[in-house]
């Protein structure tokens, strides 16, 4: 593990939401490499449960979750809580206004997992400075 050491009191927990398990696996590794604690969710219900019961530092959200679902509800909650997130999507045009307005950073799919993680953690680095 090459990540920076963090105190136990300040774990860098990152929510990863994607309906594709293989993408979750990839991002999970990349987050561990970056010294973060990945919390993975395959759907909205899992993601909302994680948001409610954990202190999240950042999030990586897939926009289209299948069956017409989008990550909007999670994004809205995170925005309300002031948690930075990136929208990791293969479909930038189709995102409805609701998701776009929330103002997350867009990271187009496919982007190497390490780069996605770096983009997600950017706001945290700025805060620590």
């Amino acid at each position: 593990m090459t990540g920076t050491l963090r105190s136990i009191a300040d774990p860098c927990r990152v929510l990863v939401l994607d309906d594709e398990p293989l993408i979750l696996l990839d991002l999970e590794f990349a987050l561990e490499d970056a010294g973060c604690e990945p919390l993975t969710a395959l759907d909205l219900v899992e993601a909302l449960a994680i948001v409610h019961s954990n202190a999240i530092s950042a999030a990586i959200l897939d926009v289209s979750l299948g069956q017409g679902q989008t990550c909007e509800q999670v994004a809205r909650q995170l925005a309300d809580m002031g948690v930075p997130y990136v929208l990791h999507t293969g479909d930038l045009d189709r995102m409805d206004e609701g998701v776009r307005k929330l103002g997350g950073t867009l990271v187009p799919k496919p982007t190497p997992a390490a780069v996605v993680v770096a983009r997600a953690l950017e706001p945290l680095a700025i805060r620590q400075d």
């Binding site: 594709e20 293989l22 990839d26 590794f29 479909d91 045009d93 189709r94 187009p108 799919k109 496919p110």
Partner: protein, 378 residues
């Protein structure tokens, strides 16, 4: 049946005019060469105002734009004039049209809101342009681009409403088809991007658990370059060809996040899909090398990429000139060792019946790639 037809210059309300019959002897222009010879014109009161009016009436009657006039001063605003194109479009005979309100063109599937808009425009004497589903006499439907608006006389008094009808069914069908094709392309693009992301996940995972992360990353970078090159093909997949410049830009984008270090020179040259993988991978390898050891590894280094259609020994070819600048340290020996460590570029281009020629100048590597161009006849 009242067959009064407007005279824009006449102050008389149309209702005051004597009804004109089908008898051409009563028509104002009786005996003229066009009298009664085309639908609807027989009742047109041109008021004997001279050749310009005659020509105007003639134009109204003969134009391929379906036109009708309705009289707002009669009960239920009946049609009082319909030209030949209107008769042809609607499938009704002239006598079945005159005296009836225009709503006979509407049917069960005509949009209620559009009809309400028509009504409100008539009430407010406004000009309106709408598309509405209308019905012919035989029950068949057509999409009608309806323009309607008030006609006033010289005193500013409302005398008629003019409606023009245009069958835009073909236009609408084409629009729907285009929309469908666009949606399909977008869905395809979405799925493809997702699939490439998943492939990336699999390769990374395998590399990690087998302890070959470096190799896995190299494989992944190649696959992702391929994905970017193909992504550009989806937008106009129906054409069967790819814009070479778009594919080049997409492949190289990650190596120049600020869009300052790779300069593009080329036109809208198109190529078949088969060239995309070779072209995409070759440029990816050149960029990787430039980023590691070439111009893109130097602070002020940059690369120009030019593409053009070229007639080579074996017919037309895509020629790509890759020129690195600001990399004076480059020398042929190291360059050769580093250019595509496993020789994939050379072997791929050979296999595609193309080739690559490398030269090391003072500014750095100059590579010229050729890929045969299989040209489509569009």
């Amino acid at each position: 049946m009242n067959r009064n037809i407007p005279d824009p210059s006449s102050p008389a309300a149309p209702g005051n005019q004597a009804p004109v019959t089908n008898d051409s002897a009563n028509a104002p222009y009786a005996g003229s060469s066009f009298g009664g010879s085309f639908a609807g014109i027989s009742g047109l009161d041109i008021g004997g105002k001279g050749i310009a009016d005659v020509q105007f009436a003639q134009a109204m009657a003969q134009t391929h734009l379906a036109i009708c006039l309705c009289d707002p001063h009669q009960d239920d605003m009946p049609v009082v004039f319909a030209n030949r194109a209107f008769i042809k479009l609607s499938g009704y005979e002239e006598h079945e049209i005159l005296g009836r309100n225009c709503r006979f063109l509407q049917g069960p599937k005509s949009d209620r809101q559009t009809i309400a808009r028509i009504r409100s425009s008539l009430r407010n004497e406004e000009v309106l342009v709408v598309e509405i589903l209308n019905y012919r006499k035989d029950g068949s439907t057509f999409w009608n681009a309806l323009h309607l608006g008030p006609v006033y006389n010289a005193d500013g008094k409302l005398i008629y409403f003019l409606g023009s009808q245009w069958d835009v069914s073909d236009v609408r069908a084409a629009r729907a088809e285009e929309r469908h094709a666009r949606e399909m392309a977008r869905e395809l693009s979405h799925r493809m991007k997702n699939m490439f992301a998943v492939i990336g996940g699999i390769v990374n995972f395998t590399g990690r658990v087998r302890g070959i992360e470096t190799e896995a990353r190299e494989i992944n970078d190649r696959i992702q370059a391929l994905g970017r090159a193909y992504e550009t093909t989806l937008d106009d997949s129906h054409r069967g060809t790819v814009e070479v410049g778009q594919a080049i830009r997409a492949v190289l984008a990650p190596y120049d996040p600020g869009s300052t270090r790779i300069r593009f020179e080329g036109n809208g040259l198109r190529s078949d899909f088969a060239s995309v993988s070779v072209l995409g991978l070759a440029l990816h390898e050149l960029a990787v090398n430039a980023a590691r050891h070439g111009a893109l590894s130097q602070e002020n280094g940059y690369v120009t990429v030019a593409w053009q259609r070229n007639i080579g020994e074996h017919g037309p070819a895509i020629r790509i000139d890759w020129s690195e600048h600001g990399n004076p340290a480059a020398d042929q020996a190291t360059g050769r060792n580093l250019s595509g460590s496993d020789g994939i570029v050379d072997r791929m281009l050979d296999m595609a019946r193309g080739g690559i020629v490398r030269e090391w100048g003072e500014a750095g590597l100059k590579a010229s790639l050729t890929i045969p161009l299989r040209e489509h006849t569009d």
